[in-house]
């Protein structure tokens, strides 16, 4: 600053100081009832003169505040006197104005806001072309931000993702630390409690970072009413769209891609669901068709439903779905997908639905469809709240871990006999012939030879199935899905990568891409007659999907009929319902009700007390073995020694079949 500038500033401060003093005494006079219109006018004049000189030298915030005071006084003049509730804020404004002239402007914004709220008048800002000086920074947004009840800040999405990376890594680090401290911890109770506490805090931290990635559905729904209206007028139909639950939170990445899918479903509803107005009237419906879009949380997922009150899908199609025991969504998607030449209303509904289905499935979600002929159709897009977390089935091939979203995994089988399909290996799964392919071949890499009877994951989507052979199943786990990075973006085949507890990276495969691979296109339904067997009916109880499905596949391959339950409680319910159950095979550690409690409940139940129960334990767990025997288990099988002979032999021994 040149000296002359500084002199001017000092002069302004002095003058303003005089004004402020007068304003204060006039305000106090008005408060005590000792003043009138003269004092109001005097305050107005002083405020106006401070505004003018502050604005002239570019002290923007001081000018804004003086202007706000002026506005308030203008109101007072209109009302014919200063309302009592104006006095305190105005006195605070005078103080703040004094400080603002010295360069301390923090208090300005909230007071401008407060004054504005007094009479509902907007504070008036001055031109923005002035140079910065004390209080020179523009203030509107800041004022709104700090004054509002729910303050928000803008953070770049990349920063949140980076934070999530670090938090995720800290969680893993914590687990490794806990693991390596193992024995030490058993002695030091306090240290172990501290570690548990740390883990809880980390989980909470991870959850809250994941929350930061979510946005309300309302960020994409604004265009839907217009899009629906335009579609309806194109089709010459009358349609009313209602939208509910737009506050429902979803991962921003999901939101970015889902808008198009929803518009597609809306278009289907308008074009194929809703009838012409005359037709509706004849059917006793209101002339205008109704479409309701609703979003609501459903467990760990979000359901976005589009329901119309149109004609629904044909009774034929419903019958077909029932006959094939397939889902209506699958059949419609498939129909629209495979028979483009059969352009009927029915097929028309499915057109593009396969794309919607593929999209939601690639996000780890699913598509449901319900319909009543003549009454309407309801399409539900089930989406995970966050893309950050996904439940995947992990398995190894060639010493490297891979994952597949659980939503795409139909079952897990132990490959016993292979048949052939088009001269290629295939599996016969109860009459359905599913092509079998080595994961290494599918993704175009080489691996060591597979075991003679490898394990295989059956991937299912859009009515197609493919058995993917691997070396070893690692189990299902909820993992944080990470991008492979901008350089590899757009590379098909992978949904991303997950970092496992041991620090290794598991590539998460895109199931739809696997099914499109040359071998994946060969799935055919072969209506083989399922042979009637007189074999045993076994209930497999295990909370781990992979273990459960593995046992199922071994038992089914041997001709047994298999039911499955995820915990003891569910098992008990099934035991009550299924009259012809021959044997129960149960894991020990499960949520809700563990294997021992299940055993105890079975033995205590008069009707089923003689049901053979086999306990599946982990190696070296002598405790479990003893408890099992004492509890009345008929046999135990060690998980690590689990093979077909042992399992089938045990069942044969216990059931005599």
């Amino acid at each position: 600053l040149s000296p002359s500038d500084e002199e001017i500033h000092e002069l302004v401060r002095q003058e303003a100081g005089d004004c402020l003093q007068r304003m204060e005494s006039n305000l106090l006079a008005l408060e005590s009832g000792g003043g009138g219109a003269g004092e109001v006018d005097a305050i107005l004049r002083d405020a106006h003169s401070i505004k003018g000189s502050a604005a002239m030298i570019g002290w923007r915030k001081a000018a804004d505040l003086a202007s706000a005071v002026e506005d308030s006084m203008e109101q007072a003049r209109e009302r014919g006197g200063l309302p009592a509730e104006f006095v305190d804020p105005l006195l605070r404004a005078v103080d703040a104005l004094g400080r603002a002239l010295e360069g301390e402007t923090e208090a300005v914004a909230p007071i401008v806001e407060e004054l504005a709220s007094l009479g509902g008048a907007e504070p008036e800002g001055d031109g923005s072309s002035m140079a910065d000086g004390p209080g020179g920074a523009p203030s509107r947004e800041t004022a709104a931000g700090s004054g509002a009840g729910q303050a928000t800040i803008r953070i770049s999405a990349a920063k949140v993702d980076r934070m999530l990376d670090v938090v995720g890594e800290t969680v893993l680090y914590h687990r490794r630390l806990e693991h390596s401290l193992g024995d030490t911890l058993r002695d030091g109770r306090q240290a172990s409690e501290e570690l548990d506490m740390g883990e809880q805090l980390l989980d909470e931290l991870q959850d809250s970072v994941i929350q930061m990635r979510t946005l309300p559905l309302s960020t994409i729904t604004a265009s839907f009413p217009r899009a629906t209206r335009d579609l309806a007028s194109q089709e010459g139909k009358e349609v009313e769209l209602t939208i509910d639950g737009t506050e429902t939170q979803l991962d921003r990445v999901i939101l970015e891609g889902i808008s198009e899918a929803i518009v597609h479903v809306l278009r289907n509803a308008v074009a194929h669901g809703i009838e012409e107005a005359d037709e509706r009237e004849a059917a006793g419906k209101p002339r205008a068709g109704r479409i309701e879009l609703r979003a609501e949380p459903r467990g760990r997922m979000v359901a976005i439903q589009v329901a119309d009150d149109g004609r629904g899908v044909s009774a034929d199609l419903l019958a077909r779905a029932e006959e094939e025991e397939g889902s209506l969504a699958d059949i419609l998607a498939e129909t629209g997908f495979s028979t483009a030449e059969r352009v009927t209303d029915v097929a028309g509904r499915g057109v593009g639905l396969d794309a919607v289905k593929r999209h939601v499935e690639s996000l780890g979600g699913g598509l449901e469809l319900q319909s009543r002929p003549g009454r309407g159709t309801e399409v539900t897009l089930l989406l995970p709240v966050t893309l950050a977390l996904m439940r995947v089935l992990l398995f190894e091939r060639g010493g490297r871990p891979f994952g597949l979203p659980m939503s795409s995994v139909g079952r897990v089988v132990a490959v016993a006999d292979t048949t052939s399909l088009g001269n290629r290996p295939a599996l016969d799964l109860e009459g359905q012939v599913v092509p079998l392919s080595d994961l290494a071949t599918l993704i175009g890499t080489a691996g060591p030879p597979l075991a003679e009877h490898p394990q295989a994951v059956v991937v299912e989507s859009l009515g197609r199935s493919l058995a993917v052979a691997c070396d070893e199943l690692l189990g299902d786990e909820e993992v944080v899905i990470k991008s492979l990075g901008a350089i590899m973006a757009g590379m098909p085949g992978y949904l991303g990568a997950a970092i496992l507890g041991d620090g290794r990276i598991a590539l998460v495969l895109d199931p739809n891409h696997l099914l499109k691979a040359p071998l994946g296109a060969m799935a055919l339904d072969q209506p083989d007659e399922t042979e009637e067997t007189t074999h045993t009916r076994v209930l497999v109880v295990d909370d781990q999907f992979a273990a459960r499905e593995l046992q199922r596949s071994i038992l089914e391959a041997a001709g047994h009929r298999v039911e499955v339950a995820g915990d003891g409680r569910e098992a008990l319910r099934l035991i009550g319902e299924l009259a012809d159950l021959d044997l129960v095979l149960t894991d020990v550690q499960m949520p809700e009700m563990d294997g021992f409690e299940l055993l105890e409940a079975i033995r205590a139940d008069d009707e089923h007390s003689s049901l053979p129960v086999v306990i599946v334990t982990t190696l070296g767990d002598e405790d479990s073995r003893r408890r099992g025997v004492e509890g009345g288990a008929d046999a135990y099988i060690v998980k690590e020694e689990f093979d077909q002979q042992t399992l089938l032999g045990t069942i044969e021994r216990l059931t005599g079949r």
Partner: protein, 136 residues
């Protein structure tokens, strides 16, 4: 081209990367190959919880890497990758490029203590992955 550079060794040759493009240098840990990715990418690595693609700098320069031991994490906008190198020599000022070179990944070369140092074109390297081949 002058300024502060990170000087690295690849197959007994020396190269330098402008420091503005370098985020950090890390040890080359376990690499996870990504079947179907473009040949420049030798895999992804776990950099403190972040999945980062690693590029085969040696083969891009037509060299045979001795024992890649370090990765130089380079960044261009959103594009980020680890460049596998045998070792990091030093970080410091580099004289102006005095030699012309004929490589899409070099902007020139400079003489440092009688050793020719190729100056890497980080932007060209990070932009070299165009349309990756789909697996299968």
């Amino acid at each position: 081209v002058s300024g502060v550079h990170v000087r690295v060794r690849i197959a007994r040759e020396q190269y330098a990367l402008p420091v503005e493009r370098v985020l950090e240098v890390a040890e080359l840990g376990a690499l996870t190959p990504v079947p179907g990715s473009s040949p420049q990418i030798i895999g992804v690595c776990n950099l403190r919880g972040q999945v980062v693609p690693v590029m085969a700098l040696a083969s891009m320069l037509g060299l045979v890497a001795q024992e890649p031991d370090r990765i130089v994490i380079a960044e261009l906008g959103e594009r980020r990758a680890g460049l596998a190198v045998d070792a990091v020599v030093d970080v410091g000022e580099l004289p102006d490029a005095s030699e012309q070179v004929d490589s899409p990944y070099l902007t020139g070369a400079a003489l440092v203590d009688g050793v020719l140092v190729g100056i890497l074109d980080a932007d060209a390297i990070l932009s070299s992955v165009e349309s990756p081949e789909p697996p299968a």
